[in-house]
């Protein structure tokens, strides 16, 4: 699975939660919650969806590695590899 595939999948899941935020308008290295204006419930919804989609546990202890769009792409790619 390439970075592009993971990135596309993440963008799709984020679009379900924050359909009003366009990827072009945000800093992909910035804080995910700030950039996409999502709260803890939205974040949990996102993590749940990604866990199902990629068949990953997405443990809470790893949340610090999921703090930006780019960090999440790296995390998902490394776990899927």
């Amino acid at each position: 699975m390439t970075d592009q595939d993971v990135s596309t999948a993440l963008a799709e899941e984020l679009n379900r939660i924050a359909p009003d935020v366009s990827l072009e308008d945000v800093d992909l290295a910035g804080d995910l919650r700030e950039e996409f204006d999502i709260d803890s419930m939205d974040f949990l919804t996102l993590i749940t969806a990604l866990g199902k989609r990629f068949d990953l546990e997405m443990p809470e202890a790893d949340y610090p590695k999921m703090q930006s769009f780019n960090a999440l792409v790296s995390y998902l790619r490394d776990r899927r590899a």
């Binding site: 924050a18 359909p19 919650r33 700030e34 709260d39 419930m41 949990l44 809470e60």
Partner: protein
Amino acid sequence: MPSLGADMEAGTLVEQLISPGGTVKRGDLVAAVETQKGVIEIEVFQDGILENWLVDIGAEVPVGTPLANIRAADEVSLSGPLGQPEAPTPGEPEVPQPHDPVSAPDLPEDPAPQDPSPQPAGPELPMPDLPEPEIQWPEDNIATVGQSRPRITPAARRRAAQAGLDLSSLGAQQTGTTITRSDITVLVETPRDDPLPDMRGAIAAAMSRSKREIPHYYLSHQVDLTNADAFVAKTNSDRAPEDRLLMGALFLKAIALAVRKVPEMNGHYESNGFNPSEPIHAGLAISMRGGGLVAPALLDVASLKLDELMHNMRDLVTRVRAGRFRSRELSDATITLTSLGDRGVDQLYGVIYPPQVAIVGIGTPSLRPWVHEGQVVPRLITDITLAADHRASDGRRGALFLKTIAENLTTLEAL
């Protein structure tokens, strides 16, 4: 058309979920109504057969207007329409419950002979002077279920409806993209005359009434959430994401337990004074994307375990953010919780949602210097606040209420 809040005067029928002749059971969702707060799903209050609809899709009618005729299972003729309870049938009285949102105030006290003809449209209410034009919802008709519909966010759907745009003309089905509110705004060239549209207007009406009528008093207290945070982390460590807890579930539980000790925080202040509520229906202030907020109720939170609370809270937030509420959730809250979450500031003082008498505010938790076991150490601290109605309680009781919430969150024993 049920009343879905003190500030609601009219609503627009946007979905008929049951076709004429269809069987309905008490609690079934039968219709969806568009109000200033969004799309509300309407539950039916009796078993029977839906004979016919009295209001067309897209029509805006005053609160109290019957929406449909429902024939009870043991009736042979048309009965009182939905939205206006019929007289109890002799031998088998069926009286809508006091909190039933579709009940009208003029319920006959004695069983009366059934009127075989459909009743005239509801109580005489003046049509409110609403800014929106008549809204057409062709894509929401039940007959179109199964056909492709444009993907559109709830906010964009409302914006398009206000502007009278035909969604099917936007071409989103072909391109497969989602229509957002900004897309609609771009399409609508002339701005609205009304400075307070939709949800803003609903909030303005309810909050103005609150500040006009309710003598608020305010209290604040700091709580050490370090133990609670550790408890959530430990609980979640071996759980799949769908089963994880959020701190919000603990707040709800702590408040529900404190209400047991200080019941004058829970209920409605009405024309006859304060009416405490036995069940605790906790309104949850939920911010909406694109602005505004709503505070639908989590029903009967007192008896729920943490995991059940969390599940219900998740379900509610997900539906509300998708623009779907149920009628009871909007009318029945007995106390409200508002929480700033992880990205806010230290304190918020809520405005009580009438006719409730209290709102608990939770600030953003942060690490602060704190005296713990004789040492100054960093602990996870949050400010919890109470705004309460002085007609129903005094500061001493309010303080006990806040301290009880704090104790529940610190010791965790009761949770």
